[in-house]
Symmetry: C2
Subunit: 320 residues, 2 copies
């Protein structure tokens, strides 16, 4: 019995590549990939929790996929396919079309075809579930437990803009249309560095995406790898839009702000030139921000004068 | 920053098999499988829509995975791994523990380790998202578009019990504790025929699971394969518990009732003995219920006297 919610599915049934079996059967099918490990990640995005109810649907479609692609990049994996679960309290064709457009535009750009999904009515809020699948050559994945003492610590992109946009939209900062205009894309249309991530497989050691904030996420590497870290604040790639803001707010946004969807990774010092060259090839900015130390769990951030910043932004002192 | 919802994740971080990288990194990793196509399916289950708010959490954990494993069985794929997204309005450790127990018990039995996931707070209802991954030998998947004129039509298991249980629980039928006791397990603890599904790969033609009801689901095969079907009602495996019910209710439950999570499949008549033998080996009951005909979209169900049942249960006449 075709019902209105089967109709939703029509927005998400563009054909998959010829080698795949896409939307419409019990499962999607993808061809074998000899020598490749399969990487998989899933995320739930809930209205009112992960995005505002009035979020622009095209940007939301983009971001729902982007945050998952970011997990593939952080593993050094290239995208293979994605699956989308979507539950909506009401049918709004204009909303659906814009969401699907944003989603497909990124899926096409990333080479990550939508091959399966599920659409249902939700009794209350919008629920988006995305699962991404990717390939990484056997043994080359960028795992959190692979950092080594003496490794350089790098980040891609810039830091802080998404956090400022979030604070502006949440009313935590006084309205500032110019600042919002300069930071909003970082929050709403993140562009995970997929080429860079794949190029780092087999070159870098540990990596993850900065979805929860630099210090918190770097803390995951330190814990999994049983080592410490020292960062130089002056070397951090602060987003330009933050230039005029008070120092404490800048530091909070740069060190603690999440939703970045760029990579933090570690690599042997001997590979510096190689990493700079491959980042250039991939069109990604990378910055060397510190080094991995022996002390398990110890995390220091030195200010411009070489003195440890203390206390670190709220909530991060427990890594010390 | 560890928060209460990170603690939820601890209920779902049992170790994955040694060849896998499980929960705890940006992605899960699984080893290559030469000669195998990758099958993937995802489902969203929303409180108040797919399950009652007072659903027993152990049974819910079981069912959330079972309905997805059923999609793998219907493709002829063997389970490889699963990912779980869980969003809850409140933290109830007893609920979580029972849900996780039910989920893991089936995951273990099915050889489908949980390798990744996402847990978050939901502003309102419980949301469960499950993605399953499986392998099927290249070219042997059981696709909906593979039925051929003259094929036998088979179903596994029995039909109708889940629908009766659902009607009892929803108050559509007068309370009948004995009938509920006899039908409830079919609704709440479905056991998808994984061994049978995998054994049918390369033997059967088309297959799907009967999640939406026999006629509706068979209709998907007929549409995808551009053919018709004739069923003999007398050959349908009606669940024993339905024996005393009025004929019209029985027919509605058997032909239209969903939530069955058994297979409907087609195969060449020459393979009857082989199919009966492999079903016996797999411990599955299979029944031959009709045949595929030429007429695209035509779907007839003959009664015990060989006359077409008309009208078919509400909502199914549009296949004719």
């Amino acid at each position: 019995m075709t019902n209105e919610f089967d109709l939703i599915a029509r927005y998400f049934s563009r054909p998959a590549p010829a080698a795949y079996l896409g939307v419409g059967d019990d499962c999607a099918l993808m061809p074998p990939a000899p020598g490749m490990e399969l990487a998989a990640s899933t995320d739930l995005l809930i209205e009112g929790r992960h995005f505002f109810s009035n979020a622009e649907p095209r940007a939301l479609g983009h971001k729902a996929l982007a945050v998952n692609l970011s997990d593939l990049a952080a593993m050094g994996a290239r995208p293979v396919a994605c699956l989308l679960g979507l539950s909506l309290p009401e049918l709004r064709p204009d909303w659906l079309e814009a969401f699907a457009d944003g989603y497909y535009a990124l899926a096409d750009a990333a080479g990550c075809p939508l091959v399966g999904g599920d659409t249902t009515r939700s009794p209350s809020c919008i629920v988006i579930s995305v699962t991404v699948l990717g390939h990484v050559p056997v043994g080359q994945a960028l795992r959190r437990d692979a950092a080594r003492e003496g490794d350089d610590i790098w980040v891609s992109g810039t830091l802080g803009a998404a956090d400022i946009a979030l604070r502006l939209l949440a009313g935590e900062l006084p309205p500032d249309p110019q600042l919002l205009a300069a930071t909003r894309a970082a929050l709403e249309r993140p562009e995970p560095p997929l080429e860079l991530g794949a190029a780092l497989a087999g070159v870098a050691h540990a990596a993850l995406d900065i979805s929860d904030g630099l210090l918190q996420d770097l803390g995951h590497i330190l814990k999994a790898s049983a080592c410490g870290a020292q960062l130089d604040y002056a070397s951090l790639p602060v987003a330009e839009a933050l230039a005029g803001l008070p120092q404490a707010l800048q530091r909070q946004a740069v060190l603690g702000g999440g939703d970045v969807y760029q990579l933090c990774f570690t690599a042997a010092a001997a590979r510096r030139d190689e990493i700079l060259a491959l980042a250039r090839r991939c069109g990604s900015r990378v910055s060397r921000i510190g080094c991995i130390t022996a002390g398990p769990g110890a995390l220091q951030v030195l200010d411009e004068g070489g003195r440890p910043i203390a206390p670190l932004p709220a909530g991060f002192d427990h890594f010390n």
